[in-house]
Amino acid sequence: MSLVVFIEFADGVYKKSSLEALSMARSLAESTQQKVVAVQLNGPCDSQILGQHGAHKVLHNGSDLGAFAADSWGKALAQMCQETQAEVVIISNTYSGKSLAPRVAHELKADMASQVVSMPETSNGFRVKRSVFSGKAFAWVQLTSPIKVLALTPNSFPIQTWNESASLETTQVSASSTIQVESVQKVSGKIPLTEAEIVVSGGRGMKGPEHWGMIETLANQLGAATACSKPVSDMGWRPHSEHVGQTGITIKPNLYIAVGISGAIQHLAGVSSSKVIVAINKDPEAPFFKAADYGIVGDAFEVLPQLIEASK
């Protein structure tokens, strides 16, 4: 019986969110006495790194599944889960993870929960906490099927290390998809928003796209990703992939810095799980100050240069 973690390998590295999932699985295994199996479907495998982050065993697929597609990868992952008698399958709640998880759950006839934000409770049945209403609330859900599939939100569990190594087993699982990947465009050199630990975000108060240089400079210096409010992406000042909130992306970084954003309920929904929130707004009545830990009532164009200077 085992806890399986699906390991995403992209652009030559293991995704941080996969190592978080692995660390969570190992922490869970300490009390349930299960074995943690890291399953990697593509790319070269480094069982040492996976062992250090909690895997007892690494199951690596040696045959090439081709470009990511939810249907073929879902079948392959489900087959490998069966090989290791998985009881719990943990996948990161990323775009690809979330397309994979339901296909795996269907194959394994498993109950599943997405947007999971903490370690499962196993003392009385199997319960997980997930975020609902776009971050406005949390819910505990009970899963009862023999196999369970979880999609874990990035930044929900800290990466940990163990002074151990994992055994490596290579298997050959193939599956084909009718989805043809024509082209892939990656934004290089940028920290993915959902995984970022620090996010600097701008709203309509930034007045126009020409002022985003300041947001980007501050973000670069802090090692942060950039985000924006809905009207900012609606007006085309920033790409829609940066739009956070109820109808955008939900994020939970350690630090969220909101500049010139009013703090409407739909915006707060997507960011209120951030550990520390900073609001910078010239209007002392802006609702964001009620949701923030630190605030500066002032003009962004005077405040940002000082922050840039101080964080050099």
Binding site: K15, I265, D293
Partner: protein, 243 residues
């Protein structure tokens, strides 16, 4: 060409969320329900494609009779027919299994990226798996070119273009299109369009929601003088320890 759009009915985005019965149920009284914003995009793009290719759009909803006003809105946007599966939706797996029972035979099935209440984002993949057809989530472009479905979809840190021959399921992401606003003619026509009510087939169960909670309230904001903004950086380093 037959297109099926799966729609959900959700609390309006301005809703202040609260719970009843010892935090075991969502407080619905006084809440206004709307068509899920992502489903509006799915429906709008489905209609555009059907209109360009001589097709028909059907909408389907798993829910009780109180959601019929929202279903009529979908019809007023231009869908030709609606199906309501008469079961209270409790979980993505239950909803997907009911949808799968009627979703065979369509050329394209569309869902929203997620419903903005429970944010599962699972229906697209579950339905694709149940029907054994490809599923493509978070799509920002859908075109039908020479008998092939062509999509752009968001991936982590970028975008990709994919194509599929034959029936598939896709979930609509923001940027797919501007949602269509029903006009007077559409609203009048919707009144007499067919809305078929079917009884649930599978009664699948899925997960159970046992308890809800609200995020812990903030302790209150610490204000920093705008002329001393650099102070913020040292507080974030030394007090909050997030830098």
């Amino acid at each position: 060409m037959n297109i099926l759009v799966c729609i959900s009915v959700v609390p309006d985005t301005t809703t202040k969320i609260s719970f009843t019965d010892n935090d075991t149920a969502f407080q619905t009284s006084g809440v206004q329900f709307i068509l899920n914003p992502y489903d509006e995009l799915a429906l709008t793009r489905g209609l555009e494609i059907a209109e360009a290719n001589g097709g028909k759009v059907t909408v389907v909803h798993v829910g009780l009779s109180d959601s019929e006003a929202v279903i009529r809105k979908a019809l007023s946007m231009g869908a030709e027919a609606a199906i309501r599966i008469n079961a209270a939706p409790t979980d993505a797996q239950q909803v997907a299994s009911e949808l799968a029972a009627i979703a065979g035979g369509y050329d394209l099935i569309l869902t929203g990226r997620e419903s903005i209440d429970y944010n599962g984002g699972l229906i697209c993949g579950l339905l694709g798996a149940a029907l054994n057809i490809p599923s493509i989530n978070v799509v920002t472009r859908i075109d039908y070119i020479n008998g092939t479905w062509s999509f752009d979809r968001d991936i982590d840190g970028g975008k990709e273009s994919v194509s599929v021959q034959g029936p598939c399921v896709a979930s609509a992401q923001k940027d797919l299109c501007e949602p269509r606003i029903p006009n007077m003619r559409g609203i009048m026509a919707a009144r007499t369009k067919p809305l078929t009510v079917l009884e649930p087939k599978n009664n699948a169960s899925g997960v159970t929601y046992t308890q809800f909670e609200l995020p812990a309230p903030k302790q209150g904001v610490k204000l920093i003088d705008p002329s001393q903004a650099a102070e913020l950086i040292s507080l974030l380093k030394n007090e909050a320890k997030v830098l």
